[in-house]
Assembly symmetry: C2
Homo-oligomer: 322 residues x 2
């Protein structure tokens, strides 16, 4: 008979899970007391929280437990680095039915552990509860290392807009899964296990980024927050939004041609790329891709355009209807 | 027709909820960016997380939304002060069915707001998601203000054991609700809306507490963590465990007499009292009640006794069976 988390019991499961997590220098006091203690030498702590609910944010048939563990950590530490901060600590709330296979919980734990190692943060605490709905609540902490946080309200007309990481792969991967067709592993993997460019968050802060965010809901929608926060408009250049080969291949399978590839890049979410604005004279490393400019905008014009047009006039609304 | 959160929509609900939360001096950047920024002048951040799942941790028919809001905050900031820290920031994950009445979400928000005001912390961020199971994930942060954290492993033989706050009222309130009988408001209220003695956490640290925790699972069970962490035993004196009048009244209604009142105090959870150990010569303020002593103990004897006996020999196991 398959072992379940209910059969093992909460305290034994917590011990088994906790023993998987290595400590880093940031962990002053790890799991086991009323609360954890995390180093915050900057004197300010960056904090963000996210929920992952089965059936809404992941499906057990499409994502392995290990993938879900990776993703839960990635999407939270991506938010930390998008402020220009360094990941430090992570807290995990895990609510699950008693009949959840123990192997699922253990594989999830390994995904969390491995993504923490990639991001440079450590699990410092958590909670476990019974629930009819498998739900994962993650809170991530970070340290600014003396830098000013990169917010959404600092973009100025004339700044360049650039991104680093992947754009559109995750959405193309989801489309492949939804249609039940095989496709490039890079797209499927990015959907299951996004790979945020963690080091590029602090890097952008060093480079003088005026605004930054992680792309979770889609490039145009997320940059819209910068437009409203900074009281500017942003114009993206479709000629600069070059799809990666894997995205081109996915669109070849899915159909829709170049407009659909552009649509995935402009409106596809969950890649957790970093998008930022920089002063025009900033010398950007090659892995930051220039894709547009910040423009002055009246209050009723503070949104993202593609080649000067509202996105729905560029042909990629086909994707939305599709 | 009753308004629901699904009818309002996620972003409108977030705006409506967020506008309820006042900022404190600890809030460097509040909700609305990739992450919040909270002051942590000490250079160390205390962090703890808890899940509240409907049907497991609360019932809508027994607790109002406002009560649940109060309790969600109280149980987390109680963990923060139990380290000797001052509450600073709070993050809330809120997963709910679309048909949840909007009024429930709004009342919950008011409970969160008001308990934050009592504790001295501020809501700095959160996340909202759809789910078949109403689930609340809270993460609380705190600042040690230069003090050493009060952990579970510092108790020494000869220390006095003391508590402040309430003991047994919440469990008696739950018993009243379970049996469907009316009883003292103090017990029912404490179950619905615990009132941790927030200021007494930092106070205990100042007084030189050698170990401390918040009583969430029951005094004996929780002090057992101190016994194992500190490699000691603890003997509680039943003569010093004087029930509050409301608890005596609840037991008069419920039956069981003085042994049951003692049982509620020793094994009842969720009052979120603070229990601590202090050097024997510590001059304790009146609101800290001495209830026992720390004793040297062999590895197989590191647990809590009542009048020198294992708790199940003192008569209060009647409660466990009841």
């Amino acid at each position: 008979m398959q072992k379940t988390i209910g059969g093992l019991g909460e305290f034994a499961l917590i011990r088994r899970v906790t023993s998987q997590f290595p400590r880093t220098d940031d962990v002053i006091l790890g799991p086991g007391d009323d609360a954890a203690i995390v180093a915050s030498p900057d004197g300010r702590t960056v904090a963000t929280t996210d929920l992952l609910v089965e059936g809404r944010h992941f499906r057990r048939e499409w994502s392995s437990a290990r993938d879900v563990g990776h993703r839960a950590v990635a999407q939270n530490f991506a938010d930390v680095v998008a402020m220009g901060a360094r990941p430090t600590g992570l807290l995990i709330g895990f609510a699950a039915p008693a009949d959840l296979p123990l192997a699922w919980a253990e594989e999830f734990t390994l995904g969390v552990r491995d993504e923490c190692a990639i991001a440079g943060g450590a699990v410092v605490g958590g909670d476990m509860a019974g629930s009819d709905t498998l739900t994962i609540a993650i809170t991530a902490l970070g340290d600014l290392q003396g830098r000013a946080p990169v917010r959404r309200d600092g973009a100025r007309p004339g700044d360049v807009v650039a991104y680093t990481g992947h754009l559109g792969l995750s959405a193309a991967g989801l489309a492949l899964l939804t249609e039940g067709v095989d496709g490039p592993a890079a797209c499927l993997d990015e959907h299951r296990r996004p790979s945020p460019p963690y080091a590029s968050g602090p890097e952008a802060a060093h480079l003088g980024a005026t605004a930054m965010l992680d792309v979770s809901d889609g490039l145009a929608q997320d940059l819209g927050h910068v437009c409203r926060g900074s009281e500017v408009g942003i114009d993206l250049d479709p000629a600069l939004l070059a799809p990666e080969p894997a995205l081109t291949e996915a669109v070849r399978i899915l159909g829709g041609g170049a407009p659909r590839a552009l649509a995935f890049m402009v409106s596809g979410g969950e890649d957790h790329a970093l998008a930022a604005t920089f002063p025009a004279d900033t010398v950007l490393p090659d892995h930051w891709h220039r894709i547009g400019v910040v423009r002055a905008a009246d209050p009723d014009d503070r949104y993202v355009t593609v080649a000067g047009k509202a996105p729905e006039q560029t042909g990629w609304d086909h994707f939305r209807q599709g």
